[in-house]
Symmetry: C2
Subunit: 308 residues, 2 copies
C-alpha cells in the first residue's frame, strides 16, 4: 500500500490557513518528500507521519516556497535520531543551495547524499521507489516528478518446475534477486508470471502546461498538479509568471489519461479554490481541489482505496 499525503496547497507564501505545497509518500517503511517550503515540518507533525523514516527529498526548483523549510526539517530529522543517509534530489545547483541553507544546520547525525538532475528526463532507483524526473517550463529550471512502484508478477510454481529451478533458490528469486548457483545464473523471470500493474503518482509544480508534462504523467493513478489561478481570465498572468490555470491543468490531466487530478499550489489571492472547481471538471471530470493533508492510500490492482 502506498500512502500519499498532500501536505499543503499554497503557493508563494505560507498562510495561516494554508501550508505551502509539498507531497509526502510512505511505502514499506520508507518515506519520501517532494518539496519542502517553510512550515512543511509542522504539517508533517500534524499528519503524524515519521520524520525518522524520510529517506528521500526531491525538489522541483529552488524558489523559497519550495525549499525554505529544509534547514528546520533537517534539524528535526536529526532530533529524531536518524543516522542513515538522507538522499536529496533536485536540479543542478542542489548542493550549493543546500550548503547555503545549512549555515544554520551545520551538524547533523546523518550523511546527506546529493543527486543533481542534468537531463530533460532522468530515472532514479530509490529503494522501492522509482523516481522519474522530467523537466518542465518555469522561469527557472524546474522538474516534475513521477513516483512509480513497480509490481512483479506472481510466483508461478509450474514455471519454476519447467525451468528446473532448484527449490532452495525459489524464495530468493521470488524476492526479485538474480542468483548464481553452481556456476548457473538464475533470474527472477524464471519463476515469476507477467509483471502486474504498479502504481504511479505524478507531481507537477511550477510550470506552464507543456507537452512534456502530458507525456511524462501519462496513465498516472494520481496527478497532483499546480492550479495557481482559478479563472481562465488569469491565463495572461499564468503565462507571465509561468504557472497554470485550473483549466490548463485539467487539459493536461485529460490528455494524459490519468485516473484523477488534485489541484494545488493556489495563489494567495485565490481564497476559495472550490469556487472554480467546475472549470476543471468541465474538462476533466475526476478533478479535485486539494486541501492541506488530503490523504489517500493506493493499493495494487483490485484493492480499494479511499480519500481520508
Amino acid at each position: 500500500m502506498l500512502d500519499v499525503c498532500l501536505l499543503g496547497t499554497g503557493g508563494m507564501m505560507p498562510l495561516p490557513y494554508r501550508w505551502l505545497t509539498a507531497l509526502m509518500l510512505r511505502y514499506n517503511g520508507s518515506n519520501m518528500l517532494i518539496d519542502c517550503g517553510e512550515g512543511t515540518q509542522i504539517t508533517i507533525k500534524q499528519q503524524g507521519w515519521s520524520f525518522k523514516s524520510i529517506d528521500y527529498i526531491c525538489f522541483t526548483h529552488y524558489h523559497g516556497d519550495h525549499i525554505s523549510g529544509l534547514p528546520g526539517l533537517l534539524l528535526t530529522i536529526g532530533n529524531s535520531n536518524r543516522t542513515e543517509p538522507l538522499t536529496l534530489i533536485g536540479p543542478k545547483g542542489l548542493e550549493r543551495v543546500v550548503n547555503g541553507l545549512r549555515v544554520i544546520a551545520p551538524e547533523l547525525p546523518f550523511e546527506i547524499k546529493f543527486i543533481e538532475l542534468r537531463e530533460s528526463l532522468e530515472v532514479i532507483e530509490a529503494g522501492e521507489y522509482v523516481i522519474e524526473a522530467y523537466k518542465v517550463k518555469h522561469n527557472i529550471i524546474c522538474y516534475g516528478y513521477n513516483v512509480v512502484i513497480n509490481r512483479q508478477g506472481k510466483f508461478d510454481v509450474e514455471k519454476a518446475k519447467e525451468n528446473q529451478i532448484p527449490l532452495r533458490l525459489w524464495s530468493k528469486l521470488q524476492k526479485g534477486n538474480t542468483v548464481i548457483d553452481e556456476g548457473v545464473e538464475y533470474t527472477p523471470d524464471m519463476v515469476l508470471g507477467e509483471s502486474r500493474k504498479g502504481l504511479k503518482i505524478s507531481y507537477c509544480t511550477d510550470s506552464r502546461p507543456v507537452k512534456a508534462i502530458e507525456e511524462s504523467v501519462y496513465g498516472a493513478d494520481l496527478f497532483i498538479c499546480e492550479g495557481m489561478y482559478g479563472e481562465e481570465t488569469e491565463e495572461t498572468k499564468a503565462n507571465a509568471y509561468k504557472h497554470m490555470t485550473f483549466e490548463e491543468a485539467a487539459k493536461l490531466a485529460k490528455n494524459a489519461g490519468v485516473t484523477e487530478l488534485w489541484l494545488t499550489h493556489f495563489s494567495p489571492s485565490l481564497v476559495y479554490p472550490k469556487d472554480f472547481l467546475h472549470k476543471a471538471r468541465n474538462i476533466f471530470k475526476n478533478s479535485f481541489v486539494g486541501k492541506d493533508r488530503m490523504t489517500k492510500s493506493f493499493k495494487f490492482e483490485d484493492e480499494t482505496s479511499e480519500i481520508q
Copy 2:
C-alpha cells in the same frame, strides 16, 4: 503607544499549536522584530501587523529556531513592496549567516544593512528605538535585548521665555532638534522640562540565568524571558543545555525589579506550561505564561495598558 506582541512561545522546533519564540514591536509606524524562526511570517500574518513597516530585525543567536524563518520573511517583505533599507542586528557572523540563507532569496527590492555586535554591551540608536544588546550565556554566542523608548520633558513656556528663545524656533526645539540661528546655538533642553519616564521592554532567550541579565533588564516595564523547563527538577537539564527553569527566570525578574514577566521558549516536552506557573509566581508574583500572539500596548506614564 508601544505595541508588543509575543509572536510565538516555542523553543527548538515549531509545533502545530505553538509557533517559535519571536517578538514584534510597533511604535510610531516603525516595526521591529526580535528573532525569526520558521513560521514567524505566518504568525505575523495572523496578528495582522505590517510586513512593510519592519525596519529592524534583531537576532539573539543563530540556532535554527531563531533565524530559519528569515529567507521566507525577506521574500514576503519584498512582496509588500518595501524599498527602504532593512537593518539586521545580531552577533558576529550575521552577514555570513544571512548571506548563506539568502541563496534562496537573492533578489530583494530593498537594501539590507548589517550591524554585528562585538562587545558585551552595545547601544544602538534605531530610529525612535534605543536597542541595548547584552551578552548572555548560551552554548554559542547569544545576546539579550532591551528596547527602550525615551520620552523627553514637556514643553515649558516659562523656561523658553526665560531663556529668550525666539518664538519661531519653539516648534523645532520642542521636537528635539538643536538649532543654530543667527550664529547662536539653541538646544532642546532650553525649552523642555525634565525628561519623563520612557518605556523599556526586555527580551532574553536562550541563556542560563546570569548576573548580566539582571543588571541589563533592571527596571523593565516588561521582561520576556525564556522558561524552557517548568519543573525545578529539570535544572540539571537546563544547566546542560544552557537554558532556564521557570523558577530561575522568576528569580531574575524579582532581582531586576521589573514590572511583569512573560515566560516563553517552552520545550516541546512542556505541553502545559500553565501547570508550572505557580512555581514562578511563588518567587515573582507578576509572572505570566506567554501564549502565541499575546499582545500588550504600553502607554507612557499614567496612561493605562491592557493585555489583549
